[in-house]
C-alpha cells in the first residue's frame, strides 16, 4: 500500500496527463474517423479550459458547471467554425483549422479576461485522477458505441468515399458539422479538466504543437478503433518517463525517438499500434483501372 502511494507520488502527474491526452486524442478521433483532417482540437481545448476557468474564477461556478460550460463553449465555437470550413478538403481543412487555432492563441495572449501571456492562474485544482479516467472511460465507451450507430456508419462511409456516401443518402455537411461539434465538446471538456488540474492555463498549452501532437497520438495508436487514440496518447505521454527510467534524459534523443516511432508506424504499421491487436490491414494499393 505504501509502495502504491509512493508510486503515485512520483508518477501521479504522468498518469493524469496520460488521461487528459487520451481524452484529447479521442476528441480528434471523431473528426479523423470521418476523414476530416481538422487540427483545431487543441484550440477547442484551450477555449474550454479558459471558459471553465473564467466560470470558476469570476463567476464562482461549481466545478461540474464550469466543465459543462467549457465543453459547451467549445462545442458552439466548433459548430460556428465548422460550417464554413466543411467544404474544404484534406490539407486545406488542416490549414484553416490551424489558422483558427493560431488566431485563438493570439487572442488569448492579448485579451485581459484571459490573463494575457501568463494565462489564468489560481484556478482551484479540483480535478482528481479518478475524474479524468471516468471521463476517458465515458468517451471511450461513447466512441465504441458510436461506430455501430447511424452517425458512426455515416462518418466511416464518408471517410472511405465521400461521393459514394452521399449517393447512399448520407447528408455530408450535416454529419461533418455534428462530428466537428462533438469533437470540439470533448476537447473542451478535456481543456476544462486540465485547467483545474494544473492551477492555470496559458496560451502555450494549446498551440500549434499540441495540435500536431494530438494527430500523432492518433496515428501511432491507430484511428480505426476506439482504443487506438488512448494507446497512442499513453505511449507517447509516458515515453519521456520510460526513457528516463533507462537512463536517457537528453532532450534531443527523446524528440528523436518520438519522430522515429511516428516514422516507423506510418511506414510499416499504417493503421497504428491498435492494428497489432485487431489485425486491421493497411489502406490498399491503388486499384488497377479497367
Amino acid at each position: 500500500m505504501v509502495e502504491l502511494q509512493e508510486f503515485y507520488a512520483v508518477y501521479g502527474s504522468v498518469i493524469n496527463f496520460i488521461g487528459i491526452n487520451a481524452l484529447l486524442a479521442l476528441s480528434l478521433n471523431v473528426t479523423l474517423s470521418a476523414g476530416m483532417l481538422s487540427l483545431g482540437n487543441a484550440a477547442f481545448a484551450g477555449l474550454g479550459g479558459y471558459a471553465a476557468g473564467i466560470l470558476t474564477l469570476h463567476f464562482k461556478m461549481p466545478y461540474v458547471v464550469s466543465l459543462c460550460g467549457g465543453a459547451l463553449t467549445a462545442g458552439l465555437v466548433g459548430l460556428a467554425l465548422g460550417l464554413p470550413v466543411l467544404r474544404l478538403r484534406g490539407v486545406f481543412l488542416a490549414m484553416a483549422t490551424l489558422a483558427f487555432g493560431e488566431v485563438v492563441r493570439i487572442a488569448a495572449v492579448n485579451l485581459d479576461i484571459t490573463g494575457g501571456a501568463e494565462g489564468l492562474t489560481n484556478i482551484p485544482n479540483v480535478t482528481q485522477t479518478w475524474m479524468i479516467y471516468l471521463a476517458v472511460a465515458g468517451a471511450a465507451y461513447f466512441m465504441a458505441v458510436l461506430r455501430r450507430s447511424r452517425l458512426g456508419w455515416a462518418l466511416v462511409s464518408m471517410r472511405e468515399d465521400e461521393t459514394a456516401a452521399a449517393c447512399l443518402g448520407i447528408h455530408i455537411t450535416y454529419y461533418k458539422a455534428v462530428a466537428f461539434a462533438i469533437g470540439a465538446m470533448m476537447a473542451g471538456l478535456a481543456g476544462g479538466m486540465y485547467a483545474h488540474l494544473t492551477y492555470l492555463i496559458t496560451p502555450r498549452d494549446f498551440g500549434f504543437f499540441v495540435a500536431v501532437d494530438l494527430l500523432i497520438y492518433n496515428i501511432v495508436g491507430g484511428t480505426r478503433i476506439w482504443y487506438g487514440p488512448i494507446l497512442g496518447a499513453a505511449l507517447l505521454t509516458a515515453l519521456p518517463e520510460i526513457l528516463r527510467g533507462v537512463g536517457v534524459t537528453a532532450g534531443p534523443i527523446r524528440m528523436g525517438v518520438n519522430g522515429l516511432i511516428l516514422l516507423l508506424v506510418i511506414l510499416f504499421l499504417p493503421n497504428g499500434l491498435a492494428s497489432l491487436f485487431t489485425r486491421l490491414r493497411p489502406a490498399p494499393a491503388r486499384a488497377e483501372t479497367a
Binding site: 450507430s149 462511409s157 472511405e160 459514394a164 447512399l168
Partner: protein
Amino acid sequence: MNELRVQNLSRSFGGLQALLDVTFAVAPGAIHGLIGPNGAGKTTLINILSGVVPPSAGQVVYRGRELHRLPVHQVAAMGVARTFQNIRLFPAMTCLENVQAGQHLNSRRSLLPRLLGLPSARREDRQLEEQARRTLARVGLDGKAAHPARNLSYGERRRLEMARALALAPSLLLLDEPVAGMRRGEAAAVADLARSLVREGITILLIEHNMSFVMNLCSRITVLNFGQVILTGSPEEVRRHPAVVEAYLGPGDRHA
C-alpha cells in the same frame, strides 16, 4: 408518378458540351438501356440524375419532384440509387459492411438505445445484418461476406456495388456499366437479377457497352452520341437504325 422524365437536359464543362438538349422518358418498371460510343455523355447523364453534377439547362422529373434541384443525399432519399463506372466501394470495409453502410436511409441505429445497451438496439442490428446478408446472397456474394471489399475480383466488386445500392431499397436503379469486365455467365446472372428486381417494381436505367447484354435485357434503349440523343426505341428499332450504326462504326465507305 414513377416515371423518370429527362427534358432538354444540357451540360457543358468549360468549352466542352457534354450533353445537349437530351430528352427521353423511362417508364416505370422498365429496364431502359443507355448506349453510345465513349465520350457520348452517358456517365455525365447519370451524374446529373443522381445529383452529383448540376445541369447547365433542362430538367429531370421523377415522382413529381424536380430531381435536378435536389442535393445528392436527397436524390437518394427519393429512392434513386446508383453504381459507378469506376467502382466506388468502401475498400477498408468487408462486403457485409459495405452493404450495411448502404442501409443508412433504412435504419435508425439510434445512439441513445445503443449507449444504454437496450435489447431493441441489438435486435435492430441483427435484423439489419440479416437483411444485408440476404442482399449479398442476391448478388451471389454471401460466401464472401467477411472478405474485405478490396480483395474481390473485378466482377465481384461490380456485384457488391449493386448490392450496396440495393440496400437503399431504391425504386430507381442507375447502373453504370454493371457487367463491364464480366464473363458471360456472370453477366447472365446480373441480367437475371435485373429481371427479378423489375418484377419487384424497381425501374432500371443502365449504361452498357456489352451489346448482346443490352439487346437481350432492355425493353427500351436510348442512344447518345456527342451528347445528343440519336434515338429512343425498342432494341429492334435501335439495331436497325442507320444513325446508330454510323455512330458506332463511323460513316459508310464512300467508295462503295
